[in-house]
Amino acid sequence: MTQAQISREEIDAVLPTVSATIADALGCDVDEVTPDASLIDDLDAESIDFLDMVFRLERAFKVKIPRGKIVENARGALTEAEFEQNGIVTDVGLKQLRDYLSEVPADRFKTPTKVKDIPRLFTTTTFAKLVIAAQRESGVKA
């Protein structure tokens, strides 16, 4: 997924539905689901919620989002060994991660970053970008 090529306009087009869908999945007020909200740290999402959100977004946008491959996709062209060592994201991996998650405020990237903590970085906008990537994949226009 080349998230860097996703425009602000594309994100704004899907964000209201993405936010409403996430709010429905988490049982929270849609006002809490801000574009920068960390789904785990701010909205208390758990792994089952991620599955739920993806499931609902697939229905809302009629696309197929590869479940469980978000972290794998974040690795981009890097090999697993290049991206992480002993569960810690390498320097080159962290640069790739920052590029991939360009919507995430810089101060949320910790050094060192544990691979298992990568989902903590995901925001509402991250999921909006996933939807857009899936739309492009399936040829559906936003």
């Binding site: 429905d24 049982g27 758990e46 089952i48 919620d49 599955l51 739920d52 499931f55 609902r56 229905r59 479940r67 469980g68």
Partner: protein, 279 residues
Amino acid sequence: MADHFAAFSFVDRITEYEPGRRARGRYAIPPRIAAFPSCLVAEAVGQLAAWVSMAHIGFRGRPVAALANETRFLAEARPGDTLDLAVDVESCDDEAVAYGGRAMVDGNDAIELVDCLGPMLPVEDFDSPQAMAARFELILGEGAPPGRFGGVRPPTVVRTGGERGVSATASLSVPESAPFFRDHFPRRPVFPATLLLDAQIRFALELAGEAAHWAAGTRPLPSRMTHVKMRAFIPPGAMLEIGAELGPPSGSMATVRLSARMDDKTVATARLEVVAKET
């Protein structure tokens, strides 16, 4: 093990089968048991979907905890009835199965499940993959002998607080032992989500029945359940705190928000729509 595939297994036979896609099956509710709650009818539909999905991935994984976007309660099933089960699997892989389905009694819909999702976990953590595969061959072929389910006793629920007709909390004691734990599951006993939901529905109906809103001669009954989400496994002997909040009624309908907590962590959430019907 006498209770394995008996004490909490609700598919006797698969009558039509398209691998990885859809199936139809049957379950004969034993006539001697006291009741067969609607949640167990939903369990039967879910189990048929589980068989299709497990077979599709070679019994490496099984769906355990669940998300059910919508369950429609259409009619009750009674002891002695035969459930005709049908499931359509939308997608299935090593990570999750997405499906919908229904159960019918005498040609009439009893329950419908819409947009359900079951995360897959390793079968071997819960049961013998070989035993599961052999059971699948049995129900796909000649079928399993019916009538082996002995019923379940509802867990003890003791009200602890709340405001009459508005909200309520209660403690729910999961039994330390019960036959269903030896079927659900032999290697890791888990309190079935559908039994928790059944207890929560009873609790919600008690709360809703206290509201003064309903017309004379009517009482609220479950219409549909939405946003069912199981977040954790509930072991034998667990003590849960369940909660119910009745939303403002609209006409003859109202929604009850349900929750269950264990060790200060939310383990299950759901919403129950109730509709007042003449008694």
